[in-house]
């Protein structure tokens, strides 16, 4: 089974590489959305520094929303998903491999872009490490929760909008702890509790996500 998951992961990464534009879209959206804030609230360094943690986390989450639809929808439409469902790998494993590929191709670029945008938004120096650490710990939960949402909305018309409505409420805890970690570091408080919470959310999503998304995929295929 591990071999099968490795095969699926390799295929996902190859497909993502062949259409690198899609990963680029997510990062570009992140950059543009974050750019709107200095334009909207004015270039005052103090104001920007104050809102930077929340803006970075919120825009990163919104950018991630763009990427969930491609998790299962193309495979569902071209018949690959039913073939994968009939392969030796269980659907839960498929979800895990897909979420990992999503994390590598969509979330990791966001983590790389975030500190650059932090500089642009005048994020205080103490905030950078918890920003990157928080994103590294919290984004696995985003990928996994997004996979559940993508599986649940498979085949639905206007699935993209529905997906965002479904996923955004579920990732609010990640936003709260992620932004709070950065704020705490800037204010000189310990960040460990926030980061631990983020890691805990990701672990919970790792346990529940594949199971829930697998059940949703099974349901979508049985119709």
């Amino acid at each position: 089974m591990i071999a099968a998951l490795g095969l699926i992961l390799r295929r996902e990464l190859r497909l993502a590489l062949r259409q690198a534009g899609e990963s680029a879209t997510v990062v570009l959206f992140f950059i543009l959305a974050a750019l709107l804030f200095p334009l909207g609230v004015g270039p005052s360094p103090a104001t920007l520094a104050r809102i930077a943690p929340g803006v970075l986390w919120a825009t990163a989450l919104l950018a991630a929303m763009l990427s969930f639809e491609r998790l299962f929808q193309p495979d569902f439409e071209d018949g690959s998903l039913e073939q994968l469902a009939l392969s030796p790998a269980p659907l839960e494993g498929l979800v895990l491999a897909k979420a990992l590929a999503h994390w590598l191709t969509a979330a990791a670029p966001l983590i790389v872009a975030a500190p650059v945008l932090g500089v642009m938004l005048n994020l205080p120096a103490e905030g950078f490490v918890p920003l990157i650490a928080g994103m590294a710990l919290g984004t696995p939960a985003i990928s996994l929760i997004g996979a559940v949402g993508a599986a649940l909305t498979l085949g639905a018309r206007r699935g993209g909008v529905l997906l965002a409505l479904l996923v955004i409420p579920l990732v609010i805890p990640v936003l709260i702890f992620g932004a709070a970690a950065v704020e705490a570091a800037i204010g000189g408080f310990p960040v460990r509790a926030h980061l631990t919470a983020l890691g805990g959310i990701s672990l919970g999503a790792l346990v529940l996500g594949p199971w829930a998304a697998g059940a949703a995929l099974r349901q979508a295929l049985a119709e």
Binding site: L7, R14, L15, L86, A222, E223
Partner: protein, 210 residues
């Protein structure tokens, strides 16, 4: 000897019963052709047989054991060729086929056998994006030959195929049956299989209610 059968099968689509009281029995080397007008449930029955969906009533069993009880074992012995070709346009022909061959344990040799069986050797490195409908169909069918499986389920496999490819498909099915394999094929065209049995789904149709 392995037997694949079902009885008392009932299939509902939405509120409507498509068929009821349907039974079938397939043994080693058998080919079963599913016939019936559009909407009579051929695809639904194949999906039940594949284990993609559960019947509303009745059971499908392999050697007497319900396929739902051994889903993993049933997946391993089943190849399903549906309406959709499951071909990724971003990958080349051989990349597409190699993935499925490896996933089912056929390896590189299996992928090569699949290419050869359906005359795709010269197209191996071509991007699947440029394939015609018939070539894509052949690539989907090549999965059958890429790794051995006891049960082949095919939904209108000859659609878009030219005459030579239909002959290749018939030869592949014959070779599969000669080694004790089973094939269930939903089709409305006579593809000329020797000794195939017919199952008309209209015999089990449920009259449309008011």
């Amino acid at each position: 000897m392995a037997r694949f059968g079902g009885d008392g099968l009932e299939c509902a689509r939405g509120e409507r019963l498509v068929f009821a009281g349907l039974g079938f029995d397939v043994g080693p080397g058998d080919a079963l052709l599913l016939e019936g007008r559009n909407g009579s449930g051929k695809t639904s029955l194949l999906r039940l047989m594949a284990g993609l969906a559960r019947p509303a009533a009745g059971r499908i069993a392999w050697d007497g054991a319900d396929i739902g009880d051994d889903a993993e074992g049933h997946r391993a012995r089943t190849r399903y060729i549906g309406h959709l070709d499951a071909v990724k346009p971003q990958l080349s022909v051989i990349e597409n086929l190699s993935f499925w061959a490896a996933l089912h344990g056929g390896g590189a040799a299996g992928a090569q056998a699949g290419l050869t069986a359906f005359g795709l050797d010269t197209l191996a490195r071509a991007p699947a994006r440029y394939l015609s409908a018939g070539q894509r169909r052949r690539l989907a069918l090549a999965r059958l030959a890429a790794a051995p499986a006891a049960l082949w389920l095919m939904d209108e496999p000859t659609i878009a195929l030219d005459r030579a490819s239909i002959a290749a498909l018939i030869a592949a099915i014959a070779a599969h049956r000669a080694t004790g394999g089973m094939a269930v094929i939903a089709t409305n065209v006579d593809i000329g299989l020797d000794g195939a049995r017919l199952l008309s789904l209209e015999d089990f149709a449920v009259a449309d209610g008011p």
